[in-house]
Symmetry: C2
DNA sequence: GACTAGATGTCGGGG
DNA sequence: CCCCGACGTCTAGTC
């Protein structure tokens, strides 16, 4: 990783055009070749960047750094003055372990659909439709089809998504009629209202509690 | 901006849990207080981060950096060894000028609605409805109302957005019946399918060509 | 503060 | 490789 603190101007031409007037910024070049220009604020997002794969050509004498990629995008950095510089090999990162995202929530609910509603049985996870996969397809105690959409945070677009799936699922005579249940750790008031007008049910589930139920069940076997 | 290259382990507890085993990484602390942990690859996104506003407490002796925020999230960095360090004031950045995003596409199309469909005349840009503004409201050659939604890339949620607007516009007896056209530089297959089922038309436009048409017209006057 | 919609979104998974 | 949906999305604008 090469870190250069420099007074510079920057131009990007590609998906859009962008220009940065002269100022002191951090230029970060990673081992995979990606380049990022950071200001001293504005969260972790750089002002400008160019992802790998790309080609970086540096004319040290002219202070001209030009990054190009196969898509025809160009990032041009004009370095007026270098204030500090660090260059160091970091090696490959052992990587990140995550826990608590939607995929895990879906796993837990797939294993315990009765948490959503009594008598619910799983037919399939990621049940495919023409406009994308439904998180869970189930049958209820009466054998009727139930489509489940799972979100970490339940907002309006999640309800829309489920409504779309229902529209398509209800065209299938083998499944029809299909009702929907929107499941999330927390469901926003507007999402509840919209679900109501779409005749879609909603259930809030507690992630930690759910993990508890699962370990409880494992303990019994 | 403080840059520290260090062998470290990192833990994040908040919206999810994440753990980074010991490795050499870059720790970036910006003037606004935000903290980011970068590996030597993986585009510009850090492995872990904590946005401002937050509180950073450093126990130099123990090599323990703890960042907390009001939402109850915690980023804990255990620094085992510091390999390099730079500290520098960058000052406030003069900011970024952009060109070529959706707003500009809307301008161009507002000036040339016939690119979307023959005989189309603009009534108003950002025509207000109860649930937000429609990009363009037009009349076609027969005087019928047409609502236009413009995206750079046409995906499913853009179709949904237009469908919502149409639902509201069609309640207005002065406008009714209103049909919709979804316009983008590129429209994804699934978005086309959904538009079809919603009786919404769609048109792909070429941004560069459109700029050409506009400059051509300017030249004629 | 809540809600909406854009983003050079980025990233990962499946076909 | 495209297509699609999640993301600790982030961010800016409006109400």
């Amino acid at each position: 990783m090469r870190l250069v603190l420099a007074r510079c101007t920057v131009d990007y031409e590609g998906r859009l055009s962008a220009h940065l007037p002269e100022a002191v910024r951090l230029i970060m070049v990673k081992a995979d070749g990606c380049v990022a220009i950071h200001a001293d604020g504005g969260a972790y997002k750089p002002l400008n960047w160019m992802n790998a794969p790309n080609r970086l050509v540096i004319d040290e004498a002219a202070g001209l750094w030009v990054v190009t990629n196969a898509k025809g995008e160009t990032l041009t950095i004009t370095v007026h003055e270098i204030l500090a510089e660090v260059n160091h090999e970091l090696g490959v990162d052992p990587g990140l372990r995550k826990d608590g995202v939607e995929a895990h929530l879906q796993e837990l609910l797939a294993a315990n659909p009765t948490v959503i509603a009594d008598g619910l049985r799983l037919v399939r996870r990621e049940y495919p439709t023409d406009i994308g996969p439904v998180d869970l397809l189930c049958r209820d105690a009466n054998g009727a089809t139930v489509a489940i959409e799972i979100k970490r945070r339940g907002e309006i677009d999640g309800v829309e998504q489920l409504a779309r799936y229902l529209e398509f699922l209800n065209r299938d005579p083998l499944l029809r009629p299909v009702r929907g249940i929107f499941v999330a750790q927390e469901i926003k008031p507007q999402a509840r209202v919209l679900a109501g007008t779409r005749s879609i049910g909603w259930v809030e589930v507690d992630y930690d509690e759910l993990r508890g139920i699962v370990s409880e069940e494992l303990r019994l076997f």
